[in-house]
Symmetry: C2
Subunit: 151 residues, 2 copies
């Protein structure tokens, strides 16, 4: 009987510090922006593209659902819809439904979403600035680990 209860009590114990962590608002925002597709959707709506040398191009402008799906190539519509709804809920994007014959829905960055996009640009800049260092450190670490220090 008590076998499953142990599991449950442990799960409940987890909730306590989990809630403690979830209390911090910045943690919530961090987990929101750190989402895999959020950054890409923001980048797409902001006119920025993930691929640094090609199709992506332009300035911030509203995009249709299908356009977003095309820009983000391999995203499932589940994730795209889910991400867009979350961003809309937080007021980072606006969803505009135009009742044409086939329904047209456009998404656009709000001021708030635009500011977050700017911030992500800073993160991107940091990453690009220090990527070589990180890569070098990583290579050195791997070489050290792979039988290097034996001789």
């Amino acid at each position: 009987m008590a076998t499953t209860t142990e599991r449950e009590s442990r799960a409940e114990a987890r909730r306590r510090y989990d809630a403690f962590l979830a209390e911090c608002p910045s943690r919530q925002l961090l987990s929101r922006i750190s989402d895999k597709w959020v950054a890409l959707v923001l980048a797409a709506l902001g006119g920025d593209g993930p691929a640094p040398g090609g199709d992506c191009g332009g300035e911030p402008r509203p995009l249709r659902y299908s356009e977003l799906a095309r820009r983000l190539s391999g995203v499932s519509q589940k994730m795209l819809t889910q991400t867009l709804r979350a961003l809309e809920r937080d007021g980072l994007v606006t969803r505009t439904v135009t009742p044409t014959v086939p329904v047209t829905v456009t998404y656009e960055l709000t001021e708030l979403g635009l500011s977050l996009h700017q911030l992500l640009g800073q993160v991107k800049a940091w990453a690009e600035a220090h990527m070589d260092e990180v890569l070098a450190n990583r290579a050195a670490y791997d070489a050290r680990a792979a039988g290097g220090p034996t001789s």
Copy 2:
């Protein structure tokens, strides 16, 4: 026979655009810093604490493994070790082993890690600055969704 092959081919097909996304270095860094515990470890080593009103306090200083585990309360040693190793590999923290009688290991932020910590501070600042807006938007959205617009 071919039943499993379909699955495999689909999984392989996924790899292609997955690799395309993984090519972008900033994406790698983004997923690195967006890791749940990375931010907390960085914050702990940087002297910052997740809980805004209590024990956490101090300036950037080296911490022992057990100290980190204590500061981050409910982290499993698997995640802590994993996170620390990843950060060490990227050159964001240094791992110092002191061969005392019980082995003592201390972790410290590098210059690079410190700069990332600064950046995360900016993210945190943004989150704190705009959290009320986000929360308001979220509440409004939820109210609208929960039978609000019927009347």
